[in-house]
Amino acid sequence: MIDWGRQPEMNDDEVLRTLFAHRLADEPLPPAVLERVTHSVLTEVQQNLVPAALPPVSRSATLLVRLERFRSWLGSLPPNQTLLLAGAAAVAAMVLIIGVSRITPRPLTAIAEVAGGNATVLSHHTSKFHVQKDGDVLKLRQGDQVLTAEGAVRLTHFPDQVAIIEPGAYIELTRLDEAGGGHQLALTLHDGIVHSQINTPLQANDEYVIRTPGVAVSAVGTDFTVEAVSPQETIVKTMAGQVQVTMGEQVVTVGPGQEVDAVLGQTLKLQSDGD
């Protein structure tokens, strides 16, 4: 038998929305399908929307003309001047190479390893995406984004630290920096779960932060999980150590065996395993 409950007032939009939300079940989109659709969309974007590069033929032609002019000029020089010029050019090139390598900072990277299935990485630097397979090891830079399907991605930056991006998650490497004598790593978790382990406590100026749309979780040495349930809700669980959870003006410290369900606009409340 069906308990229809109270008859809804049909002109009340809120009542109807509630009725639909409770009585019509939504079938969830499988993560592998989302991965496939995202991949197709990005391919289509590359083909349809990204401006085409300059035609390579015109660039090559310009270069050839310049080389031809240079060759003619060299041909007009006497032999001793040609030798002198070649030596000077070699020394200048070496000085330039050494100078550039000294002054150009190497981009900071975090090491990522794909495990158990594919993951798509969107490179901020090149604006290209790559599908990485199980067992692939790659270097991620600030701004890179990772979408996991059936597989997970293990991300390391600090000694004895790992962030496990679980299957079906979407993260962005929002900060990878060296400032104030320390290292800073910040991930923005748009969707899904990231499990973090930091077995050796971080140094004084190091920073390890996981952000979701409404919450920032920072740790120095601990074992914890962050789940972005929706843009409005984040769940943080701590297995060992402590993490600090910040939502707007509210700050709570989540200790071992505790969890906090952070819902935007509501008060942060700690719960223990036994609750």
């Binding site: 038998m1 069906i2 308990d3 229809w4 008859q7 809804p8 049909m10 002109n11 939009d13 109807l16 929305r17 009725l19 639909f20 939300a21 009585r23 019509l24 079940a25 939504d26 079938e27 969830p28 989109l29 399908v33 989302l34 496939r36 659709v37 995202t38 197709s40 969309v41 990005l42 289509e44 974007v45 590359q46 349809n48 929307l49 990204v50 401006p51 969107l122 901020h124 604006s127 290209k128 995406f129 984004q145 979408l147 979407y170 962005e172 748009h190 969707d191």
Partner: protein, 185 residues
């Protein structure tokens, strides 16, 4: 303190920025759009198509159509209305291809979600018995959460016509609920 009007202005600004990035072919913006809307579009398509793989194909076609159509999309309606319009057309294409001899509602019900509580199954059955256009306006308005004007854009009707359709659909749903309640008693 933010007012609803201010929140609406902020949301419009966020959407305008996103639309600009989408037109420029910003991969990050497209990833964001796909991640946010795909689960919702899939739920809508799944409710209207008989099998999961049909809904998956329609979702993929909808998102690819969005990439191709975004340069000519003027932003006059919301991105949600734009995407659901495309999904609605893909769904119509599907049923045209099928040359369905069975009424649409029966075909949907035959392959539908399954599982769930008795209450939900009974409501789904009752809902699927409504006329097709009534089902669509109720779904778009109350399950997807579009406004009346956005719903009108999706089904390509006038605002007044859509209001009238919604009113009739609500009456039909109420009558069906009343009948089910009497049978239950």
């Amino acid at each position: 303190m933010s007012t609803p009007a201010r929140e609406e202005e902020d949301a419009a600004e966020v959407e305008a920025t996103l639309l600009r990035r989408l037109r420029e072919g910003d991969n990050s913006a497209w990833t964001q759009l796909t991640q946010v809307y795909s689960p919702r579009l899939y739920a809508y398509l799944r409710r209207n198509l008989p099998a999961a793989n049909d809904a998956e194909d329609a979702l993929s076609e909808t998102m690819l159509a969005a990439v191709r159509a975004i340069p000519s999309f003027d932003g006059r309606v919301s991105l949600a209305a734009f995407l659901y319009s495309l999904a609605y057309r893909k769904m119509a294409d599907y049923w045209r291809r099928q040359h369905a001899t069975a009424p649409l509602n029966e075909a949907i019900a035959a392959g539908h979600l399954g599982g769930g509580s008795a209450e939900r199954l009974a409501f789904e059955e009752l809902f699927d018995s409504l006329p097709e256009i009534s089902r669509q306006v109720l779904l778009l308005r109350y399950q997807v959460g579009l406004s009346v004007s956005e719903t009108a854009e999706v089904i390509e009707r006038s605002y007044k016509g859509t209001e009238s359709l919604l009113s009739r659909a609500r009456s039909q749903l109420r009558a069906a609920l009343d009948r089910a309640d009497q049978e239950h008693d």
